[in-house]
């Protein structure tokens, strides 16, 4: 075979290499400056104040609703017999799901060597923490007597009573608390070097004390980096199965039961895919305005947004797959009750919710097949909002349609939310955004050290790190020489 064609091969171009992760012209110092400036400026942008005002008010509404609930009891909600789970558990599953994208970005994409994650992982991890805070609230208040919450933990108490470990609701307690703790560790550990950067730039004693205290005396020592990186890898390797387990355990709450429409073996992976799907939509929703307000467009580029839309498309299609398989198997089972459960979802009293869910979760994300829409800010925002609505409705459909149609038609019921339900849901968004806006104001919102480690200054082309997808040097076309004699000959 002739080698002369080799010259005709164009140099490795951007189509193969991908756009740079950090826009051209950024230096190590400029990345530090861009991210730290956000925190160091005396005043955030006006939009921040407006958003914070609204969010804090809504968070206040949440606390008022929780107070009212604790005083009056769960009767203030729309739940009834047979629909014993209403907005509370819907909100719980929704918020836990949102949290999953954070760990996916920080842990799973880390293990897959997706270096583009470095610009967005801090956001996503922060979002995880706040989403889990919101999620944890709901089962806690839904039990009614929130003051005996400690019964759910294996603490020796005066009743000499232990929790029942065979109950999926207890698995939730363990899964969500473990998830909260591990996510916090992961988030905080990732932040230590960046807090040290803020410490070293601090101008006021208060800042120096605050960032100095939390950066634990980090001094960028390579002996420390070495163990730090190993710990980060280990945490990622632990967080990956953990994140799968958390939403799987949440799905067990439904799937271990006999309730038609809940008892499906596909629930664990299907819930995990849905959680990541909704979480990514939320990350997009948060990141698009943030990069606008805080001048982060060079660090969070179109490439990052496009990659996220691709993940939304992929996970949205997985969710669509699960819907279809569930419906098919419901028919295939030949079981009258199963078949009814699904036809009732699509054509029963909650059909509007079902079709909202299908349109938002399966149909609309398909628009991301088009590159133009993947790179269009309005389209991204529109679909991200739609997916969040759709994923909330998914949980609503699963919970309410199945519970409202019990095995016996005489036990059928209907769920209508009360004003308390609606205000609590709204308030939970307030709490989430309040925490998130505080994070934007006081902590390094982009992982400074990690972004630097994928920049050209990190010299990744120094012969290690080849083949990891974000190689920015010029790849010599040596392989023509390396096996000049093609093996096919």
């Amino acid at each position: 075979m002739s080698r002369s064609t080799a010259e005709a091969v164009p140099a490795l171009d951007e189509r193969i290499r991908g756009e740079p992760l950090v826009a051209q012209g950024e230096t190590l110092a400029s990345v530090t400056e861009t991210v730290c400036r956000i925190v160091e400026k005396p005043h955030p942008p006006r939009a921040w104040y407006v958003a914070f005002g609204i969010s804090a008010m809504l968070a206040g509404l949440l606390f008022a609703m929780v107070g009212y609930l604790l005083l009056e009891g769960t009767g203030v909600w729309g739940i009834n017999v047979p629909v014993g789970w209403g907005f509370d558990i819907t909100n719980f599953v929704f918020w836990v799901g949102i949290g999953h994208a954070g760990t996916l970005i920080s842990a799973i994409l880390f293990l897959f060597r997706q270096k583009w994650r470095t610009s967005i992982n801090r956001f996503a991890e922060a979002m995880t923490i706040f989403a889990v805070v919101c999620a944890g609230l709901f089962p806690a208040i839904h039990v009614g007597r929130a003051w005996v919450e400690y019964w759910m933990f294996p603490i020796p108490n005066n009743l000499s009573m232990w929790p029942n470990f065979r109950s999926p609701l207890l698995w939730d307690v363990f899964a969500v608390s473990t998830y909260m703790i591990v996510s916090l560790l992961f988030w905080y550990m990732g932040m230590i070097p960046d807090l040290a950067t803020l410490r070293d730039r601090a101008r006021t004693p208060l800042r120096r004390f605050f960032y100095g205290f939390f950066s634990l005396g980090w001094r960028g020592s390579n002996r420390q980096w070495h163990r730090y990186e190993r710990a980060y890898l280990l945490l990622a390797a632990l967080a990956t199965p953990l994140v799968l387990s958390v939403h799987s355990v949440v799905s067990f709450d439904f799937a271990v039961s006999l309730v038609p429409g809940w008892h499906a073996t596909i629930f664990p992976p299907y819930f995990v895919a849905g959680a990541i799907f909704g979480g990514f939509a939320m990350v997009l929703l948060l990141i698009v305005p943030s990069r606008e307000w805080f001048g982060l467009k060079n660090l969070i580029t179109m490439r990052h947004l496009e990659n996220m839309t691709k993940i939304v498309l992929a996970t949205g299609s997985m969710v669509g797959y699960a819907y279809l398989i569930e419906i098919f198997i419901a028919w295939y089972s030949g079981n009258a009750v199963e078949r009814f459960a699904f036809s009732n979802r699509a054509f029963g009293p909650y059909a509007w919710a079902f079709w909202t869910m299908v349109s938002c979760n399966v149909l609309l994300p398909q628009l991301f097949w088009f590159k133009r829409l993947r790179r269009s800010i309005p389209a991204i925002l529109f679909i991200a909002v739609a997916v969040n609505i759709g994923m909330w409705f998914e949980r609503y459909v699963i919970i309410v349609t199945s519970l409202s149609r019990d095995f016996l038609p005489s036990s059928w019921g209907h769920f209508t939310p009360t004003w308390v339900d609606l205000c609590t849901l709204l308030g939970s968004f307030g709490l989430f955004f309040t925490l998130f806006l505080l994070f934007l104001r006081f902590l390094p919102i982009v992982a400074i050290a990690e972004v630097k480690s994928v920049m050209p200054d990190a010299k990744l082309d120094r012969d290690v790190h080849h083949g990891q997808g974000d190689y920015h040097g010029d790849i010599p076309r040596q392989h023509e020489r390396q096996f000049g004699d093609p093996e096919a000959d």
Partner: protein, 392 residues
């Protein structure tokens, strides 16, 4: 030169032995009284085994394009070759579809189906003509996809055209959607409908997980054999084995996660129409098979691959890979056979002869595939990056 001839001859001999074993088994199944059902069960297990490996390979190829992966380029042609075995499998499916259905699937027996209300309720799906149509569609999708990706890749060996890479990347996403649905329904058809009463929504994913795991093990073995034959010795490095080891580990855990999800949900709810499937698999000698899977399909590879060392040592990794390949065969035996009410132990000799027969034919097909094709995508724009790849 001598090695080349020897390798070529060994491929041919493998094919001949394989064909002989398969034909001999079929003949014995036909002639010996009462042996036919055994033959068809063995045929089903073997067919499902090699099908799952090629599907795993197809998935791998699609995934590498979808993620624009660079590290795996040196391994991709081997995967493309394994996926291209789909042609042979399409041929092997013909006897099964024409003569095996009545023996294997209760729903294919119309008189039986007529008396069973549950089977009747799903007869719109579970009937012989529609089964044929579906399998024609599955194989059309799989063979065309596998061929298309192999041919584009080989075309690039000649032209070095970067656009081919971009075309493959673009095609991989819709191909993945087709792959997901065809694989799922194929698993429902081929294995789940062996007990037409039983159903599990996760079943397709279970089959997929096992197939990808088996394929990855096969890829480790294939890379090792290729290197022992003196090929690609400087190209496939410890780094590639390390990554394959990580993937093996990941899919071992994924398989266990899916298997546990299915088991736990059915065990916990304890509905008679579902637990029957597991009851069969936990009674008498089948209990040993279940236990063997729990220990051998999960704990052994999990512990063996946990540390970094065995993933980077070719000899250790290939042992784990061969173990996983054996366990995958037991997994399919466990999925396909108990519904006939036959004891697990000792397995009928057909399971070995038919399996080896199909293995021989597959080896011959692989030899044919690589007789005229290079073992690496020679001009893939990411090849150099792949060769130089190092784990951080």
């Amino acid at each position: 030169m001598f090695l080349e001839t020897l390798a070529g001859a060994s491929f041919r001999i493998a094919g001949e032995i394989g064909a002989l074993l398969l034909a001999g088994s079929a003949l014995a199944g036909l002639l010996v009284e009462g042996a036919a059902p055994h033959f068809w069960r063995a045929y089903l297990v073997g067919f499902a085994y090699f099908l799952s490996l090629s599907l795993g390979a197809l998935f791998f190829v699609l995934l590498q394009h979808l993620t624009r992966s660079a590290w795996s380029v040196v391994l991709r042609r081997l995967a493309e070759g394994i996926a291209a075995n789909m042609g042979l499998l399409a041929i092997l499916s013909v006897p099964l579809l024409l003569f095996g259905l009545r023996s294997l699937y209760p729903w294919a027996d119309e008189t039986l189906a007529a008396h069973d209300p549950l089977v009747r309720a799903k007869s719109a799906y579970l009937n012989v003509p529609f089964f044929w149509v579906r399998w024609a569609v599955y194989f059309a999708v799989w063979t065309l996809t596998a061929r298309w990706f192999l041919n584009r890749s080989v075309e690039q060996d000649r032209s070095g055209d970067v656009d081919l890479t971009l075309r493959m990347e673009r095609a991989s996403a819709p191909a993945m959607v087709l792959f997901a649905f065809t694989t799922t329904f194929a698993a429902f058809d081929l294995l789940m409908s062996r007990d037409p009463h039983w159903y599990s929504t996760i079943y397709g994913i279970y089959f997929f997980a096992g197939g990808v795991l088996g394929f990855l093990a096969l890829l480790v073995a294939a890379a090792c054999v290729t290197q022992r034959a003196g090929r690609m010795q400087r190209m496939i490095t410890a780094e590639h084995y390390h990554d394959l080891g990580k993937l093996l580990f990941a899919f071992t855990v994924f398989w266990a996660y899916i298997a546990f999800s299915q088991y736990m949900l059915i065990w916990y709810a304890d509905i008679p129409e579902e637990t029957g499937w597991y009851l069969k698999r936990q009674s008498e000698t089948w209990a040993w098979v279940s236990l063997a899977l729990l220990v051998g399909h999960f704990f052994v590879p999990f512990l063996a691959l946990l540390s970094r060392v065995p993933k980077r040592r070719k000899k250790m990794l290939v042992q784990v890979a061969l173990w996983i390949l054996a366990m995958h065969a037991i997994d399919l035996y466990y999925l396909a056979v108990p519904d006939s009410g036959v004891p697990a132990l000792p397995p009928h000799p057909f399971y070995f002869t038919v399996f080896l027969g199909m293995a021989g034919l597959s080896v011959a097909a692989a030899g044919r595939c690589f007789r005229t094709r290079s073992l690496v995508p020679e001009k893939d724009p990411r090849l150099q990056e792949s060769i130089a790849f190092e784990n951080a």
